[in-house]
């Protein structure tokens, strides 16, 4: 901070010329962004660069290991569980991200209606995100246990033989997607904030044109919500690829049944912290980085077509 404050040019330079040269590099922008630039350098640069370096070594956290070039990366490509974890993660992302956007936007629009008791409804939708992780895994067992769970108990009472949920290879990931939808509260809050920022005048104008609810949604709400949808799409993708805590606690880190719940970062964690192969885990992290980066770039490139900013 002090360094930057001291970097202000000397007052000896005539004011007009100083203004112009400053405008050119956008000193104001730099100043406004300076806390984050410092933050990046202090808290992000070193750990990130370290992990790149580790990915070329046999670093074990407890021992520095030795430099082995690309061998971690080569080994990964011959690791069947690595591929399995990629498959699981992509499966999850492909289904969960679009679904969460659809459900999130629908819920937010529902919660944006002007009816009595809305404060209570909104709070209810936000509740599941507040339940601590420790409690969640027990809750799931209580609800979805194939034999004693509440859900299958209810299904049995109407004569349906319920699925094994988390116990079945085919059912485990869909169960997880369903559970993750419960934690959609944060995304809904963002959509709500976005909806709140849409000026009433647009709707008034649309009403004068005699637009139906459906037309208003298509012509006003959705286009103006795109900046926020775009945010949730990018963050949802990043988050889905880093899916970790819930499947980890549910399966006690084992990814059961038959590794159908071994997600990428879970396997990374297992390698780094339980097999002490932090070098290997770092290599995994950077492969993930490349995959997610490519996807994000794709989203950014296409965003020009469908994201509308009021400001532009």
């Amino acid at each position: 901070m002090e360094k930057l404050a001291g970097a202000a040019p000397a007052a000896a330079v005539p004011a007009t010329r100083r203004k112009r040269s400053l405008r050119r590099i956008g000193i104001t922008g730099w100043l406004f962004a300076s806390p984050w630039i410092l933050g990046l350098l202090c808290f992000y640069a070193v750990p990130m660069l370290s992990s790149i370096y580790f990915s070329f070594t046999t670093y074990s956290i407890l021992q520095p290991g030795e430099f082995v070039g690309l061998s971690n990366y080569v080994e990964l490509f011959n690791d069947p569980l690595f591929w399995k974890s990629i498959y699981n993660t992509i499966y999850f992302a492909v289904f969960f991200v679009p679904l969460s956007i659809f459900v999130g936007v629908s819920l937010a629009m529902m919660l944006n209606m002007k009816v009595k008791g809305m404060a209570m409804f909104r709070t209810i939708f936000f509740l599941p995100t507040l339940v601590p992780q420790v409690a969640l895994s027990v809750l799931w067992m209580w609800l979805l246990h194939p034999n004693f769970g509440l859900v299958n108990g209810m299904l049995a009472s109407i004569g349906i033989d319920g699925p094994p949920w988390l116990g079945g290879e085919a059912w485990s990931k869909p169960s997880l997607i369903l559970m993750s939808l419960w934690g959609i509260g944060q995304a809904v809050v963002i959509y709500l904030a976005g909806l709140g920022d849409i000026s009433e005048e647009y709707y008034e104008a649309a009403a004068i044109d005699g637009a139906s609810w459906f037309q208003k949604t298509r012509a006003v709400t959705l286009p103006l919500l795109t900046p926020v949808i775009f945010y949730n799409l990018v963050m949802g993708t990043i988050g889905a690829f880093q899916q970790f805590t819930l499947p980890y606690t549910l399966t006690k880190g084992q990814g059961t049944p038959s590794n159908s719940m071994t997600f990428y970062v879970m396997y990374l964690y297992e390698n780094g912290f339980r097999y002490f192969k932090m070098g290997y885990a770092s290599a995994m992290a950077w492969i993930l980085f490349v995959i997610v980066m490519a996807l994000t770039a794709l989203i950014f490139v296409t965003s020009k077509r469908w994201v509308h900013y009021q400001g532009k």
Binding site: M1, E2, L4, A5, A8, T28, L31, T58, S60, I61, L62, Q63, S137, V138, W140, M141, W142, L144, H145, P146, N147, F148, A156, D161, P164, W165, L166, G167, G168, E169, L250, T251, K252, G253, Q254, T256, P257, S258, N259, M261, E270, F273, R274, Y275, F276
Partner: protein, 433 residues
């Protein structure tokens, strides 16, 4: 303008930081960190709760009376995954505690990483010897002939069976199965299946503590070659055990029993306690849960049935206490380890809660006369410990996954165990350079 803002911002940050330091210091002082002259404080990280914590506090009290120059500071970290991570980061950051409670199973891995203090010489001077403990407890605390931990407590796996169910189907509750064949026929009598749904399950070999380790040893297999240290998960006897588990699963249709063995089941939702399963292999740690959740359960404990009906065996894990590499007060901390490793400390620390690693202490507790506990004490002298190797966790996970694959029909037991052997031995190679 910008400059004023900068200064304002800076002042604000400074102010906040200052007030933060006040709170931070306010919380960290007042614990008496500063040692009185001549007194050394030993920090011990643990994950103990309720009765075990009371016991430990008691040990500390007695120890401090005997050693006025030492203070033991207990710091609760956590009892599972998290505590490992905390210890790991602390060791990596060069600021570990003086001592920590530690899963014995991990001693091999951490010792191979050079992160534990070698206790061999200190143990010899203090007269702590292998003969004091059950053999497996000492073996699991050592790596390549050196001692790295003091074993604290132990457990063992046996067959728990529901006596009321036995009576109901005409089996003698005082004469539980001894051979594998008897176990199979009892399981068949006890199982009640309606369509695809089980009303009651007699037995599932791999449920709860029925790991491949359990059955492999019961069938007379070995997981490690004593001479070369190589892993032998494909020992014919281990393959036989896994084959038996697989066939057992086939008979009852594995997919239908996943409900009982699904990953989401914990000890609390134990079908044995609720009478949904008649027999299961589990450890002495389950006894407490039964008392807590269903004190009226009429059950018995017996040796795990073996192919011959003799030579009963099982395996044991348990806790230990270690001194991390880089600990500041290793010598002083040793005094406390020594106290815990000897009979007096053992008796205090495991009271009313655990099995001690010293046979005499278990006798003192009166476990020999308890109908349930005596079975555990009887088997402990010939119990096994999991191979002490740098890749213990990998072997564990690989065996678990081989079991799951085989019982679900993905590959034969032989194929899967060959792969385990190959994978783990390959991972072990880098330690033999």
């Amino acid at each position: 303008m910008k400059k004023t803002w900068k200064t304002a911002m800076l002042t604000l940050v400074n102010l906040l930081t200052a007030s933060l330091f006040v709170t931070a210091c306010g919380t960290s002082t007042g614990t008496g960190n500063a040692d009185e002259p001549g007194v050394t404080t030993v920090t011990l990280w643990h994950g103990l709760t309720s009765i075990d914590l009371d016991n430990m506090n008691n040990v500390v009290k007695v120890f401090e009376e005997k050693n006025p120059t030492v203070k033991i500071k207990l710091v609760y970290t956590e009892s599972s995954e998290g505590s490992d991570q905390k210890l790991l980061t602390a060791v990596a950051g060069g600021n570990p505690p003086d001592a920590a409670l530690f899963d014995r199973f991990k001693v091999g891995t951490w010792a191979a990483q050079g992160s534990l203090t070698d206790l061999s010489d200190m143990a010899e001077k203090s007269g702590i010897r292998k003969e004091m403990y059950y053999p497996f407890a000492w073996d699991e605390s050592s790596y390549q002939g050196k001692l790295y931990a003091i074993p604290l407590d132990t457990d063992a796996r046996l067959l728990f069976y529901n006596k009321d169910h036995f009576k109901e189907v005409g089996l003698d509750p005082e004469n539980p199965p001894k051979t594998i064949a008897e176990l199979e026929s009892a399981a068949e009598k006890l199982t009640i299946k309606e369509g695809k749904r089980f009303k009651r399950v007699g037995f599932i070999p791999w449920y709860s503590q029925g790991w491949l380790y359990t059955w492999g040893w019961v069938f007379g297999g070995q997981f490690q070659d004593a001479a070369t240290g190589k892993i032998t998960a494909n020992d014919p006897k281990v393959v036989e055990a896994l084959q038996w588990m697989t066939d057992f699963g086939k008979k009852y249709n594995v997919e239908d029993i996943t409900g009982f063995t699904s990953a989401a089941g914990t000890e609390e939702m134990d079908p044995f306690i609720s009478g949904q399963i008649s027999m299961k292999v589990t450890g002495n740690f389950a006894v407490k849960g039964i008392k807590k959740f269903n004190p009226k359960l009429n059950y018995g404990v017996t040796q795990i049935p073996s192919p011959s009906g003799k030579d009963f065996t099982t395996w044991s894990g348990g806790g230990s206490i270690i001194i991390p590499k880089g600990a500041k007060n290793a010598e002083v901390a040793w005094k406390f380890l020594e106290f815990l490793g000897k009979e007096e400390g053992q008796e205090l620390v495991n009271k009313d809660s655990n099995l001690s690693v010293i046979d005499a202490v278990n006798v003192k507790y009166g476990y020999k006369d308890d109908p349930i506990m005596k079975e555990f004490i009887n088997v402990l002298p010939n119990s096994h410990n999991r191979p002490v190797i740098p890749e213990g966790q990998l072997l564990w996970n690989e065996l678990a996954s081989a079991t799951e694959k085989s019982t679900h029909g993905n590959g034969t037991p032989k194929e899967n165990l060959d792969r385990v052997t190959e994978t783990v031995n390959k991972a072990l190679e880098k330690y033999n350079k």
